[in-house]
Each structure stands twice: as C-alpha cells, then as structure tokens.
Point group: C2
Chain length 79, copies 2
C-alpha cells in the first residue's frame, strides 16, 4: 500500500521559498501568478493492506516526525 503525505506551511506563515519561485517565474516572463507556496511530499510504501490502520499509523508519523505542526499542516492520502 502507498501513502502520500503532503506537508505545506500553514496559511499566514511566510514562505520565502515560494516567494523566490514566484520571483524567478516572473523573471522568466510568466505572468498572472498571484501566489506560490512550496511544500514537501513524502511517499511511503507500507506493508499490510488495512487502509484505516495505515492512515492512523501515518498520522502518528506526521505528528512525531514528518511535520512541524506548529507551522505546518499535512494531508494524508492512501493510494
């Protein structure tokens, strides 16, 4: 089973990487971009076939290691 975790900075938290990308895209002539946010995606290959148990386990991984929940939000998809 595969789990995908998407980790983004919370809304309102300054995202200098996203701003740098926006600036660079503008410099390359891309117009009409009103905002850019950059985050991380982590794909986990998990043994077992119980999607619900896997999601609970991945949630523990996020809270314990993968995400800094003070400034980051995360989303888990079991695929």
């Amino acid at each position: 089973m595969k789990a995908r975790v998407t980790i983004m900075l919370k809304d309102g938290v300054l995202d200098p990487q996203g701003e740098a990308i926006r600036h660079a895209l503008g410099g390359l002539g891309h117009r009409g971009i009103s905002g850019v946010r950059q985050g991380k995606v982590i794909e986990l290959d998990l043994d077992g076939s119980d999607a619900e148990a896997a999601e609970a386990e991945v949630k523990r991984m996020c809270e314990g290691l993968l995400a800094n929940t003070v400034i980051e939000k995360y989303r888990i998809e079991i695929v």
Copy 2:
C-alpha cells in the same frame, strides 16, 4: 485558479532524503515501511479561468524552472 505541481525524483534515482526519513521512522519504532521517497509540491495561484491554457503554461514553468527533467518527474493538477 490553483495549480499543484508535484515533483519527485525519477524511479531509480537515489533519494538520500527519503532514506534518511525511513531510517528515522524505524528509529521511532514504526515498522513495515518498505520505501520512502521525498519530493516537492508547488502550489500556484493563477489568474485566468482557462484550465487548458493554465496547464500548458504550468508545463512550460516545469520544463524551464521548477523541475530538473534529467532526474525528476513532475505531475500537474489544476484544482
């Protein structure tokens, strides 16, 4: 309109960040993880409402700046 670009290392390209995460999760007692890959996600707020044109524009951004297509693959979603 919002576009989400997910950039991952191509299969077969060594991912030391993913390996480090796998090792750390093992150290925290998480079992049954057979592989971890880490990538980037970039969310773009775009003006305009033509999804097809937006996707073509984002594809140009990926090829020109966002992804290193030698070692990375990318996926574009218009949301």
